[in-house]
């Protein structure tokens, strides 16, 4: 059974589409599909032989009263050798090809762009080589209402940009429990572990003519988004290692875009922001899944109007919620646990810089608007919740 996965990868079949949705995004992914397909064909053939023979016997040798069984040998050395050697040899082939495919999937070329991936309960953050990260988010679904307006609903997921047709390497680390970074279209995942770096590499696809995504280019005065079609390709990122309540929400979008677009965006995100804006961005990326700013409690308490008031804690004590308290809550959250909540907050020690903390404090002080830009509504996309 010498099947060449390379030739199979170049001629995707209907079966392949049917099994995988035909969306392999890289050569390594296509080869992995081909490998799967080769094993599937091997399995189908074996299954038909074995079960077909059983079915034949069941029909042919049905019990008939008064008819004795026909004697047949109780074992057959040649037959037994054949049915040991043939599967063993096939499995050896699968093992070798599987190992080669594995190497293609996990190893990235030395000059690949390195992205730092941070994981925590329950979110992902990708940091680019210039230290910037993406503030953009995507809604799970866009609903067109009866009056033609687009209503964005459901959960929001971060969008991570990567340039088309280039090599990427991931260096991943978790803040708390074990997660797993899976991009189904690259057919690869790797666990993200709290006490060591893990990672893998992939080559992003070239964009084809039909590859477009809906992208928010502006907002209408009433706050609803203006969407336009731009060149790009979106893929899901899922957390594949169970990590608690919002495990199934721990998703993100990987967006492959033309290189110019990518470079422009990353440069833009790299520019310094006002501390409040920085705080708002971090909240959206990392804290929003547990903390609202509109009064609704989530996994953690809301941030609406907490600054400068007394907080009550699980041990019965109270404390003024000032700058120091907020700083401590972020770096060492289990020191004082807010009454009525589980000690479920991960520590962000080591992953947030001094600047980030400053920004967050500014933002918690006044979550609704940026005090430095008087008057104007700071939070334009205020429809979350």
């Amino acid at each position: 059974m010498m099947l060449s996965t390379t030739t199979l990868a170049d001629s995707p079949s209907i079966l392949q589409d049917w099994i995988f949705g035909g969306n392999a995004a890289s050569r390594a992914a296509a080869q992995s599909d081909a490998m799967f397909l080769a094993i599937t064909w091997f399995s189908i053939i074996s299954f038909v032989i074995v079960i077909g023979f059983a079915a034949y016997c069941v029909i042919k040798y049905r019990r008939k009263p008064g008819v004795p069984v026909q004697p047949s040998p109780h074992h057959h050395t040649l037959l037994e050798i054949i049915w040991t050697v043939v599967p063993s040899a096939s499995l050896l082939v699968f093992f070798v090809l599987g190992f080669r495919g594995y190497a293609d999937k996990v190893v990235a070329p030395a000059n690949a762009m390195e992205l730092k991936v941070d994981a925590w309960k329950w979110g992902w953050k990708v940091t680019y080589p210039n230290g910037a990260s993406s503030p953009e988010q995507k809604f799970l679904s866009e609903q067109v209402l009866n009056d033609g307006l687009v209503q964005q609903t459901g959960l929001q997921y971060p969008i991570f940009y990567v340039p088309e047709d280039s090599d990427v390497r991931l260096r991943m680390h978790s803040q708390d429990v074990i997660h797993s970074f899976w991009i189904p279209e690259f057919r690869t995942k790797m666990d993200v572990i709290p006490n060591r770096y893990t990672g893998y590499g992939f080559r992003t696809p070239k964009l084809k003519a039909g590859d477009t995504v809906m992208h928010q280019v502006d907002v209408y005065p009433d706050g609803s988004p203006v969407l336009a079609e731009v060149s790009g390709r979106d893929m899901w990122i899922f957390c594949a290692e169970y990590c608690g309540d919002e495990h199934s929400r721990m998703a993100a979008t990987l967006r492959v875009v033309p290189r110019e677009v990518f470079e422009e965006k990353v440069a833009e995100w790299g520019r310094p922001k006002s501390p409040w804006l920085l705080g708002q961005t971090i909240w959206k990326q990392q804290c929003q899944i547990c903390h609202s700013i509109d009064g609704k409690p989530g996994t953690g308490p809301t941030w609406q109007g907490i600054y400068g008031t007394e907080g009550a804690f699980a041990d019965g004590s109270t404390h003024m919620r000032d700058e120091n308290y907020i700083r401590e809550s972020i770096l060492n959250p289990n020191e004082k646990v807010v009454a009525g909540f589980a000690p479920a907050m991960p520590s962000f020690q080591g992953s947030l810089s001094e600047e980030d903390l400053e920004g967050l404090i500014m933002f918690i002080k006044s979550p609704d608007r940026d005090p430095t830009t008087a008057g104007e509504d700071g939070d334009s996309a205020g429809s979350e919740g």
């Binding site: 109780h74 699968f94 599987g98 799970l140 666990d191 957390c239 608690g244």
Partner: protein, 586 residues
Amino acid sequence: MMTTLDTHDSHAHGGSYFDGPPGLLAKIWQWMTTVDHKKIGVMYLFAVLFMFFLGGMAALAVRYELLDPVRTVTELQGTELVESTTGQRLAFLQDIMNAKSPNEVYNRMFTLHGAVMVFMFIVPSIPASLGNFFLPIMLGAKDVAFPRLNLMSWWIYVIGCLIGVFSILLGGVDTGWTFYTPYSTTTDADHYRVVLMVLAAFVLGFSSILTGMNFVVTVHKLRAPGMGWFDMPLFIWALYATSIIQVLATPVIGITLLLLILERTMKIGIFDPSMGGDPVLYQHFFWFYSHPVVYVMILPAMGIISELLAIHARKHIFGYRAIAFSSLGIAAVSFLVWGHHIFTAMGELAAVLFSALTFLVAIPTAIKVFNWVATLYKGSIVLNTPMCYALMFLFTFTIGGLTGLPLATLSTDLHLHDTYYVVAHFHYVMMGGTVIAFMGGIHHWWPKMFGKMYSETGGLIGCALVFIGFNLTFFTQFFLGTQGMPRRYANYVDEFQTLHEISTYGSWILLAGFLVHLVTFIMSLVGGEKASANPWGGLTLEWECESPPIEHNFHHEPIVKHGPYDFESVVPPHCDPKDYPLPQSH
């Protein structure tokens, strides 16, 4: 010594073990303190079936939640936009279970399903019930080697289950049945439920070890005169291999779970990195037990299939020695493949080694399947319920085995690991293998255990429904997995909905099948026709004693004069030679 039987069973009385003294309490007490392996086997049978029911309910809840995705929909009512959430089908349990969110209800449900099914149902299922009942009889012995130890392991099982159920009644745990660290050491830090559940698994381990030890000694010491190692029925070989794994592997999980409890209660850093531990170490420890235990679950099932196919095809099993030795081979190799559960958390070299070893374990399994199918050749096959279950096993277990190949292959595993593909694969092996064989075995030995026949029509209808329901439920999940659906998700993206729906409907058909079986069994116990000593024409020793067997099994110590599968040369005991014509030439 061990060959002399315990005669302290003062409640023993002649005739069937079913008719007891007056007084319900006296009767219950008599059952609870019995050292008769048959009664212990029957108690285990009802207990594990109850656990199967409990775990099954949780599974139905999981499938029910997944019928549709959770969505926020906005509707324009008049001039106002009204938001509502759809698809949170288990939300009504949130307050009852005192959970933080509907998602947590789901997470506790799948944990409950896994933990109950693995630790309380499938590990003890066949060995402790059918094994306890039939291992001594098939060897021609009066009881297991250590009858009182057997009673003790039953009680340890009961205590373990009670601790687990107690944890569930307090609200349950959301760690997943694997208790992966550091999630399991940090979640619900304000509760003892996780500790209780881990303790339950720890306690249940002892029951497993004691049963295993008992069986090993029984097989070595209590075979009837004339029964050599290669005259043993293959079910015994399978139980023997299983017992060896239980004795060797279970202590490892015991220690691991103990470490987990210590870490949680005393904050000793072993697995939690925030206390200087290593979370992947836990996974190695855990799978070092839990992979061999996969074979604790499947080997006894394979043993049953060997019996069912031979008897109901009235045919000598093909390749007896190959099947016997492949059981031992599987037991040995099973200790070397644990790493394939953690390909995505280990270095390249280790991954390559474990991949190779994993392929190795596939070969003895394949050999067994070939031997079973060859046994059917030129047989005299009757399609009754046990045989239909045996054939169904061949169908589903072969799918289960073959779909394991892409998981052993490194490159494809990186995609399929922790997806619904894995869920489908191991349900084809565990449910399509073990549970199906167990059902076949229960039907096969039902007349012997209870002295009553069951309705063949009822059995066949149940069997057909289980077959359809099972395949609808789980075949769809292979596609979910390859297309990108991770496991343990309370919610999912829209494109997976159709497949999830089919899977959920399948689970209802499956439920219907099991309900039909339940009714059939109850009707058999209440008003079933009396079973003869040897309704199927079997040649193994259990068919030489009465149905149900007398207290010490045999009236006289049996002497073994023919092999367990010599259907072509021996007329089975208690059977009319007219119905069992022997071939003229041999």
